[in-house]
């Protein structure tokens, strides 16, 4: 994803990584998250993204640079972040043991949905408010473009 020039190839790489992440979720035993990963990310978000890539079809100049001016500091910061995350991971999760894959059963869909709708009901309701706000904001953006045109 970092080195491919065409946005469509980047999108295909991202779709592949998302699908494999869904397979990882399935192997971990959280099948409903795997299903939602494939349905929401690959089925909705990335299809939208691919559609926009095909819609725009902006040709970049042939000699245009792929990377921005901050590529060297960016790489340095990325390596530092990876080192910090790795150090924190090795220190924090030293003796946690394995996942409840074979022996203990992972939490089920029933457990998840009852926790979601009883313990976290307020978050669920706030999510709907957030989605309404997002729709209104998207309509506002569309309105701006329409006003600029006409």
């Amino acid at each position: 994803m970092l080195f491919l020039r065409e946005p469509m190839r980047v999108a295909l790489a991202l779709i592949t990584s998302m699908t494999s992440l869904g397979a990882v979720y399935g192997l971990m035993g959280v099948h409903f998250i795997a299903a939602f990963q494939v349905v929401i990310y690959v089925g909705a978000v990335m299809v939208f993204m691919v559609y926009v890539i095909m819609l725009l079809e902006v040709k970049e100049a042939p000699g245009s640079r792929r990377f921005s001016k901050v590529v060297l500091p960016g790489v340095v910061v990325g390596v530092l972040l990876l080192a910090a995350l790795g150090a924190g991971m090795l220190r924090g999760t030293g003796s946690t043991g394995t996942l409840p894959g074979e022996g203990r059963q992972a939490f089920s869909l029933v457990e998840f949905s009852s926790a979601f709708l009883t313990q976290y009901w307020l978050v669920f309701e706030l999510t709907t408010v957030f989605l309404v706000g997002a729709i209104v904001a998207a309509l506002a953006v569309v309105n701006v473009s329409r006003r600029r045109q006409g």
Binding site: V30, L81, L82, M89, F107, T127
Partner: protein, 100 residues
């Protein structure tokens, strides 16, 4: 290195690749996709922790992240369309005149 550490390492790698992509690439759509990759890395770590503890709080957070990612794309794509109409390019350096 046990299983959960491996998964957390994958999550850290995904997050770092996404952050690097946002920082060093110049194409606006590629930057958006790298943000999605960062959200994916966070999701993987949340699922791993939730499996480790055996409770459903992490999975609830993952669902909220799905919602946030969808809303982000639904908002960012019209903005990118507006910018492309304005500057005739996907290059973020061309948008530097958008000040004030």
């Amino acid at each position: 290195m046990d299983q959960s550490q491996l998964l957390l390492a994958v999550a850290a790698g995904l997050f770092t690749i996404g952050l690097l992509g946002v920082v060093i690439r110049r194409n606006a759509l590629v930057m958006l996709m790298c943000m999605e990759l960062m959200l994916n890395g966070v999701n993987l770590s949340l699922v791993t922790f939730s499996q480790q503890r055996g409770d459903a709080a992490g999975a609830v957070m993952v669902f909220l992240t799905f919602v946030v990612a969808t809303a982000e794309v639904a908002l960012a794509i019209p903005i990118v369309l507006l910018l492309v109409k304005h500057a005739r390019s996907l290059d973020v350096d061309r948008y530097s005149e958008l000040k004030g």
